[in-house]
């Protein structure tokens, strides 16, 4: 049975890129605990030999031909951007590794 701590909630929030507040950590820790205890009931079902279902309909091999389709203009692509420069999306400095 899960028992979600405040620290674990903080870790999940970091993974999910949510700058949650201290107050939220308290609230969410309690709520997530209740929810996860409840959903953990799926473990009661004996399903060792049951295949998982990832897709509701059993389709396979859905492809498209390698043909160019009209896309967006640069103006359309950038229209919703919070900031742009020189035809590109302008974003704050990236801390990550060199890509």
């Amino acid at each position: 049975m899960p028992n979600i701590s405040r620290d674990e909630v903080a870790h999940l929030a970091r993974l999910a890129r949510l700058a949650v507040t201290e107050d939220e950590l308290d609230t969410f820790a309690g709520q997530l605990d209740v929810i996860l205890q409840s959903v953990a009931r799926v473990g009661e079902v004996a399903a060792d030999d049951i295949p998982p279902t990832s897709h509701a309909v059993p389709l396979t091999n859905v492809f498209r031909d390698d043909l160019v389709r009209p896309g967006l203009t640069q103006q359309q692509a950038l229209a919703g951007a919070p900031a742009t420069e020189d035809g590109r999306f302008r974003v704050p400095r990236i801390l990550g590794e060199e890509a």
Binding site: T21, V39, P51, T53, A56, Q76, G80, P92, I94
Partner: protein, 504 residues
């Protein structure tokens, strides 16, 4: 109030083709109604007056020129849930994070509506990113239930259901991931259909849970829903999960059902969806509906679907898991809200600050649950196990449909609850989807049709009819037969009993 807004979609379409009324007059009547009541109801997030009138004018031109109508619903107004893109009009998904986002493309459903000559009035309110059962999770305020303004209109598609019950629109589009079309239909006394997964394209439907989401028709009558179903259904090469098969003949089925003969039909009552936890008035209305179906000649038996008890927990693992990934794209880089970009904060910080400010509590909760369930140490016990339960639920359906043609249950265990009643209790809120979730997990179709009012509160109850995949005609036939019999027995439609709204 104009009587025009009380007509069904089928009636409106006919009158427009017969030149009894113009499409522009129909559109204007509904726009006027929205202007009069929507400050109270808050069904719409955006009203597209110009777009609606120009689409209506195009239909009138066709009529004047004697051209064949683009579809049997040409000129009929529709309310589009704000989770489907319509080029040039904001799509917010009820979220602050998308408050000013204007999509540069049309969803396939939207394109089909426009090509059918349907007049899109605007975009309807919803729980943020379709997560919720009350529309209280909208960043733009709750929608109110026209039956009782202190109560919820269901969710996530409460804007669409309320727009129908408030006579702001005769048709609406909803999306149903765990019940977001059927539960709102149930609590507003309207009709809502979740088609077979893959039956209606998801291209342009902002994803909540990709393997469960399905757009579908909402209306005040079963026939109207069927007419809309045939407009929006069908294969779409832009959606890899779209089924390449003809749309089931649902309009014919609805017409056939309305003749009132269900003899030879076997109907199964789901044993697991009754008893404790069901409001007495809901149970009573459901039992009455069973009697009506028997009187129509159907054979009604009880069927057990033992794993349906595990549908709710499986759903609350699968849907949040997929959502945690689907909603990762809202990161302040390419579109939508950006918070904290002060030239000092890094992209990572701006992402986290924006998502914190832009998402509401329920969305954050589900993102974190999904993040947890997909983590390497927990995947097998949570997400993996939920996917196995999903298999077992599909098998329950398969064995049930070997015994019966359709399954029935109440659509939701209670009538509309009060606004604010469950906001601080997520688990109580989640119970609203108890009976609707199995069909999402199995990808099978289901309809909710009005089943009278609950004795204790006088609020609408819904009857859910579930069918095997791509066998929608069965549930439309049963729903239409039941609707006709119920209307006849009570001397009119249920929706005609909705209280008059104060017009401001």
């Amino acid at each position: 109030m104009s009587d025009v807004t009380r007509l069904t979609a089928a009636e409106l379409a006919e009158k427009i083709q017969n030149k009894e009324i113009s499409a522009v007059e129909v559109a204007q009547a509904h726009l006027d109604r929205i202007a009069a009541v929507d400050k109270t109801v808050n069904a719409f997030l955006h009203v597209d007056t110009d777009g609606a009138l120009s689409a209506a004018r195009a239909v009138d031109e066709d009529v004047a020129a004697g051209r064949e109508p683009a579809s049997p619903l040409a000129g009929v107004p529709l309310a589009l849930k704000d989770v489907l893109t319509l080029s040039g009009i904001p799509t917010t998904c009820g979220s602050k994070i998308l408050e000013n986002w204007v999509p540069p493309y049309d969803a396939t459903v939207t394109r089909k509506l426009l090509e059918a000559g349907i007049v899109i009035l605007g975009k309807t309110n919803m729980d943020e990113f379709a997560m919720g059962s009350s529309t209280e999770n909208s960043a733009f305020g709750p929608t109110r239930n026209p039956w009782d303004l202190d109560r919820i209109p269901g969710g996530s598609g409460g804007g669409s259901s309320a727009s129908l019950a408030a006579f702001e629109s005769p048709l609406a589009i909803g999306t149903d991931t765990g019940g977001s079309i059927r539960q709102p239909a149930s609590v507003t006394g309207t009709v809502g259909v979740k088609p077979t997964y893959g039956g209606v394209s998801r291209y342009g439907l902002v994803a909540f849970s990709s393997s469960l989401d399905q757009a579908g028709p909402c209306a005040r009558t079963v026939l109207d829903a069927a007419l809309l179903h045939e407009v929006i259904g069908g294969h779409d090469p832009l959606d890899s999960t779209s089924i390449d098969a003809p749309v089931p003949p649902v309009v014919a089925a609805a017409r056939e059902g309305a003749r009132g003969d269900l003899s030879g039909m076997r109907i199964g009552v789901v044993r697991e969806f009754q008893g404790e936890g069901y409001q007495a008035g809901v149970t009573a209305a459901f039992e009455q509906a069973v009697e009506v179906l028997k009187n129509l000649g159907a054979e009604v038996v009880e069927v057990s679907c033992p794993h349906f008890d595990y549908a709710l927990p499986a759903y609350y693992l699968i849907a949040p898991s997929e959502a945690s990934s689907n909603l990762a794209r809202f990161d302040a880089m390419r579109y939508g809200l950006r918070v904290g970009d002060d030239n000092a904060n890094s992209a990572e910080q701006v992402m986290a600050l924006t998502r914190e400010a832009g998402f509401g509590a329920e969305v954050k909760r589900r993102i974190m649950i999904g993040t947890y369930a997909l983590s390497s140490g927990y995947y097998d016990a949570y997400y993996g196990q939920a996917q196995k339960v999903r298999t077992l639920i599909s098998r329950d359906f398969e064995s049930a449909f070997e015994q019966v043609d359709v399954l029935i249950s109440p659509t939701t265990p209670t009538t509309a609850f009060r606004i604010g009643e469950r906001v601080d209790d997520p688990m109580a809120m989640y119970l609203a989807d108890l009976c609707t979730i199995p069909a999402n997990l199995a990808g099978t179709p289901a309809i909710s049709v009005p089943a009278g009012l609950a004795g204790e509160d006088g609020l609408p109850v819904g009857l859910q009819v579930m069918a095997p995949a791509l066998q929608e005609q069965r549930m439309y036939k049963v729903a239409a037969a039941y609707e006709a019999a119920r209307d006849a027995a009570s001397g009119g439609t249920l929706i005609s009993r909705v209280p008059e709204l104060e017009v401001r």
